[in-house]
Structure formats: C-alpha cells, structure tokens
C-alpha cells in the first residue's frame, strides 16, 4: 500500500473528482458572466448600445448619488423603486410564510396517500406556463374581472375596486408564484419535527404558546429561513409580475434592469442595477450565515 493513501485521502480524492463537473459548469457559466457584468457596470455606455472601454463609475452615481460627473445626475427615483422592490419582496415572503407555515403542519399530519396527493397539487401550477398564470390574475383582478363582478353581484360594493396595477396586485401575483418555493422547505422541516418533544415541553409545564415559541419555532426555523431566502431572492429581482400586474404604476428594479438592457440599451447602467440587487442579497445572506455560525459555536462552547 502507498503511504498516505488512507481512507480519508481517498475520500477527498473521490469528492474532488465528483465535484469537478459542477465546479467547471459553475465557473464557466456563472463566474465568467458575473465578471463581465461587474466589468460592464464600470464602463461608459456606448451611444447606440454596447460599451466604451473607459473607467466610468458614474452609473452607480445615478442610483446612489455618488460619484457623479457632468453628464450623470443623481435620480432618487431609482432608490425609491429599489426600496419599493425590497418592500414588495419582503411582504411576499411574509404572506407566503403566513400561508405555508400552518399549511405545512396540516399536510404533515395527513395520511401518506393524501400527503402525496397534496404535494402533487402543490407542484401542479408548474405544468402551466408562468405568463398564462400571471395573465389569469390580470383577468381576475381587473375592474370588469371575476372578483369585482362577484363582489358587485353579491352587493358588497357599488363601484369596482381598483385592484390592478398596484402593489397589492403585484404582491398577490408574487405570493401566488412563490408559495410552492416557501412551502417545500418548510414542509421538509415540519415533517421531521419530533412530536415527542412537543409532549416533553407540555409535560414540563409549558402551555401551548410557550411550547410553540420555545420548541416548535426554533426547531422549524431552518425551514422558515430557507424558504424565506428562496422566495426573497427571486422576488426582489422579478420583473414579469410587476410588468403584468403593476403596469406603469408599480415598477420594480427588475423592470428597470430589463428596460436598460432591452429598450434604452444602456448596458452598464443595467449591470449596475443588477449588481445592486445582488449586493443587497449577498449582504443579507452573509448576515444570516454569520448569525447561524455564531449560534453554532455558542452551542458547542
């Protein structure tokens, strides 16, 4: 036997080989485009699209107010839109959480057959095209749509409610799209919750509220955090839902990015906006990981 060829070195080698393909794919199709984006965000926009290879940090100045030059001025509307996007994404997370958390407990207590059926139902929307599903909400929410006709028919309202093209409509659409992504991680966590721990808590004198806060919530927190991250990130950058249900009234940063790239052909500005979103998401993840690892080390100490 060769010296040093222990089980652990062999394991390491196998792991390295197995991870090679995905590393290459990620490297080529993620890191290189990301590098291009970062580079472009610091270049001067070409007059008819494309870029001029000059150092040009002023794309960020338009959004953040610094640095600026003679041509670019600070436009606070971009920050306002970004903050509104944060709000919409945050509320999307909140509402889908409020729907999914109790539902996960409900489903986890079903018989195995019903459980599988419900899980199938949850993935069912993916069989229909996203645009069609969003468009359906447009039909439901518009002044002459189903919901307004129903409410008017019942006599609850006289005038149709103006629901479409508002934050409300956008959040409804987003919650609708992202609910399965929130549900599955929470469900996976709730499903393996050990009910004997709940009983132990009651046995030791904790009422239902205390048991929930001290045992159930901490033990299902990983699912909640996982689901929230998986929903928050795509919700923040989404542009299809606001394009359909927000119209010209509700803009999200995703729409701005789309417009800079496809309509005004200002690639560097679009890249700067996209990196702003990415930066804020990375910041959130770093904070979350720091907190999680601090908790780990506190537990082990």
């Amino acid at each position: 036997m060769i010296a040093g060829d222990t089980i652990s070195t062999r394991k390491k080698r196998a792991l390295f080989l197995l991870l090679m393909p995905i590393t290459l794919v990620l490297g080529i199709f993620f890191l290189i485009p990301l590098g291009i984006m970062i580079t472009y965000s610091f270049l001067e926009p070409g007059l008819y699209g494309g870029v001029e290879w000059n150092w040009y940090p002023y794309n960020y100045g338009r959004i953040l107010g610094w640095p600026l030059n003679d041509y670019e001025e600070f436009e606070p509307i971009y920050l306002a839109i970004f903050l509104n996007s944060l709000k919409i994404a945050g509320l999307t997370v909140l509402f889908s959480l409020l729907i999914c958390y109790p539902a996960a407990f409900w489903v986890s207590r079903m018989s195995p057959r019903r459980k599988n059926f419900v899980l199938f139902l949850i993935t069912l929307p993916f069989f229909a095209n996203l645009l069609i599903r969003i468009y359906a909400w447009l039909l439901l929410l518009r002044p002459t749509g189903f919901i307004n006709s129903l409410l008017q028919g019942v006599g609850l309202i006289d005038q149709p409610l103006d629901m479409l093209f508002s934050n409300f409509a956008v959040i409804v659409g987003m919650v609708y799209i992202f609910t399965p992504f929130m549900f599955l991680p929470i469900y996976a966590n709730v499903e393996k919750l050990d009910y004997s721990l709940v009983r132990a808590s009651q046995d030791l004198g904790a009422g239902p509220v205390q048991t929930f806060l001290r045992v159930i919530l901490p033990l299902t927190a990983p699912g909640i955090i996982g689901g929230s991250i998986i929903v928050f990130i795509p919700a923040l950058g989404n542009f299809i839902v606001p394009a359909f249900l927000g119209g010209s009234k509700v803009q999200m940063t995703g729409n701005l990015i789309e417009r800079s790239f496809l309509q005004s052909r200002d690639w560097p500005f679009g890249a700067a906006l996209a990196l702003l979103i990415m930066g804020s998401v990375v910041l959130l993840l770093v904070i979350q990981f720091a907190r999680a690892s601090r908790r780990e080390s506190r537990g082990a100490a």
């Binding site: 018989s111 004997s196 721990l197 009983r199 132990a200 009651q202 046995d203 030791l204 004198g205 904790a206």
Partner: protein, 366 residues
C-alpha cells in the same frame, strides 16, 4: 386516602383497517405514596398508553385518574404534577444540557440565579457535573437518560413516570442504573411509575409490579408474590420460566391439592379457592424441580421421564426432561464443578421430585 387511583381506565384505538385495539381494558390500580410501581408486559400491551393517560397526552375513553382525591380528567398535561421520562428521552436538541434541565423552571418563571443553582444541583445528583454546556447529541445514551431524569426531577413532581428508560442501555450500564434509580427514588421520596418489558428488571427494582397483557391488568403484587404465586398462565410464563401441568383437582389433603393429569399422573400442589373437580394448572419453577439420586426413597408425587437435553448456562445446568404425554419439563440442576457427568446424558431415565409447597396451582384457562 389512596394516593393515586387509576379507576377502571379504558382506552381503545381505531386502526386504519377499521378494527379496534383495546390498549387499556378496565385497568384499576391503587398506587401508594412513595412507591416504586412497575408496569410490566410485552410490547404493545398498553404500558405507554397508560403513562400517556396519566401524563395527560391521551384522553381516556372511560374511567378516571384521581390524585389525592382530585380527578385529573380535565387537567391539561402542563398543569399536572407529574413528569415523564420518555421512551426516547425527548431531549430538546436545540438546547444545551443545562437549558434542557432548566426548561421546566424557566417556563415556571424561576429567575436565572435560582435556576442555575438548582440546575447545578440536578447535574450533580445525576453525576453529570461539567456537562451543562453540551448538546444532547454530544452525550452517550446513558448520559442522555440521566439528563432526561434530571430534567423531570428538578420540578419535584408528585409522581415520576418512566417509560422504559433503561432499554437503550447495554447490560452493564442498565444494571448499575437500576440500582441508581432505585436509590434515587429512596432519596427524593417521589412515587415512581416505571415501565419495562424486562421481567428481571421489574423483579429487581419494584416495590410492586403490575403485569399487563393485551391492555388488561393480569396481576399486581410485590416481586415474590408475582414470582411465587402467579395469578394465571400468562404471568407464570412471562415472569420467569414455568412448567405448567394441566389437570383436575381430585382430592384435598392438609391444605394440599391432589391434581390428576389427563394421563392419570397424580401431582400435588398448594392453592386455596379450588374445589374438587375444578380444572387447574400446576406451576412448577425449574429451580423447584430436582432429579432424585439413585438410592432415594420413592415419593408419591414424583414425575418420571427421560432427559432430552442438558445445557450448561453458567450458574446451573438447564435440563430438559421428556415426561411423557408430549410434555417437556425444564429444571435447573445445581452445577458442582465436577462436569455435567454421565448422569445428565440425553436418554437417561430419571425421576423428578419437588416439594408440594412450591407447586402453585392456578385456574385452567385463566
């Protein structure tokens, strides 16, 4: 006043197939204060179900549980003065050992300095000083069991329910924990209701044993009562090894009963409450049977047979004797370091004797 009354408790579960499992069928037990009561029975006989009813995790279908004159029927689990050590310990994985043990006090609003002091005492009581900062996953099975014990005892419950707390431990550990638990129960002066399916454990630890089968209480009594005078077939077979001989009572003689088996063999045993003509069974423990020496005078209730097997099991030799009519008797012969000898070779014809006082008679078919 009776300390804890378990009064004809009923509990049935519906199976998915629609059948009804009687997990508890008319169970009545009067538990004494400071008693070490063991619930003994095979897997699935309803032991955990009874603990759940006591702790308040399961509604009873009928009957009542009365602690010092007060019914616990409508008292929710978190208000009952009982604590449980669960079958799988159920330690909170997201808390440290100290947090686990202090949980009940914390919930009850005991302030941190006081709580820390009592957690320290509890850790000391179960011999886990210095383990307070660990997570349950970083403990061995025996240590986890101690944490579960400390977590319950710190609340000074009136009654501690223990659901097979030793079953996950290895034999050595289990035996030392049996002694520790018994001593602990003496020191803390709390009533223990202890569940096990291990009859040796039950005999070793209990003040009284309640034997269960199929949700029914079979017999309750102290260890020697259960062992020497089992109430029926089930208890005789479940607790220790028994040789059972069925027959009819044909005569009564100085408090002894003469029992005639189907093939005309006459046996003698003790038992009251039987009349001549009753169908009964004679229970003979292996250690009460003895193979006679060659020049011993004949006894009127000896059993003759042929050795089929002799196994050395350490302290004794377990001998199987074919006594005719398709029955094998098992007896324990003292091992005297001279080897098994030819006297116990299979095929040897032997005569077995026993003292009639040791032969306990139970009703047939009970």
């Amino acid at each position: 006043m009776v300390f804890l009354q378990i009064a004809s408790v009923h509990k049935a579960y519906a199976t998915p197939e629609g059948a009804l499992v009687r997990a508890l069928d008319d169970v009545t037990i009067n538990v004494k204060n400071n008693e070490f009561l063991t619930l003994l029975g095979p897997s699935g006989c309803g032991k955990t179900t009874l603990l759940k009813c006591l702790a308040g995790f399961e509604d009873m279908d009928g009957g009542d549980i009365i602690l010092e004159g007060k019914s616990l029927r409508s008292v929710p689990a978190h208000h009952r003065p009982l604590n449980t050590v669960f079958q799988n310990y159920a330690l909170f994985p997201h808390m440290t050992v100290a947090q686990n043990i202090g949980y009940g006090l914390d919930v009850a609003g005991v302030k941190k300095p006081e709580r820390d002091r009592r957690v320290g005492e509890a850790l000391e009581m179960v011999g886990l000083e210095g383990f307070g900062g660990r997570r349950p996953a970083q403990l061995s099975g025996g240590q986890q069991q101690r944490v579960a014990l400390a977590r319950s005892l710190i609340l000074k419950p009136r009654i501690l329910l223990l659901d097979e707390p030793l079953s996950a431990l290895d034999r050595k550990m289990r035996e030392s924990m049996q002694i520790e638990l018994k001593n602990l129960q003496h020191t803390v002066g709390i009533t223990f209701i202890f569940v096990t399916h291990d009859q040796e454990e039950a005999l070793a630890m209990s003040d009284r044993i309640a034997v269960f089968n199929h949700g029914r209480l079979q017999q309750i009594g102290n260890s020697t009562e259960i062992y020497d005078t089992p109430a029926n077939d089930f208890v005789a077979n479940f607790v220790g090894t028994s040789n059972l001989f069925a027959g009819k009572v044909i005569a009564r003689n100085n408090g002894l009963l003469i029992v005639e088996t189907a093939n005309g063999r006459k046996l003698v045993g003790t038992g009251d409450r039987f009349a001549i003509g009753d169908s009964v069974k004679l229970v003979l423990r292996p250690e009460h049977l003895r193979i006679t020496g060659p020049d011993e005078p004949a006894s009127d209730h000896a059993i003759s047979g042929t050795i089929t097997d002799a196994v050395f099991v350490g302290s004794v030799v377990r001998v199987h004797v074919d006594v005719g009519f398709g029955r094998t008797a098992i007896l324990h012969q003292k091992y005297d370091r001279r080897g098994l000898g030819s006297a116990l070779n299979p095929g040897t014809a032997v005569t077995i004797v026993y003292s009639p006082e040791a032969a306990h008679i139970i009703p047939e078919g009970a």
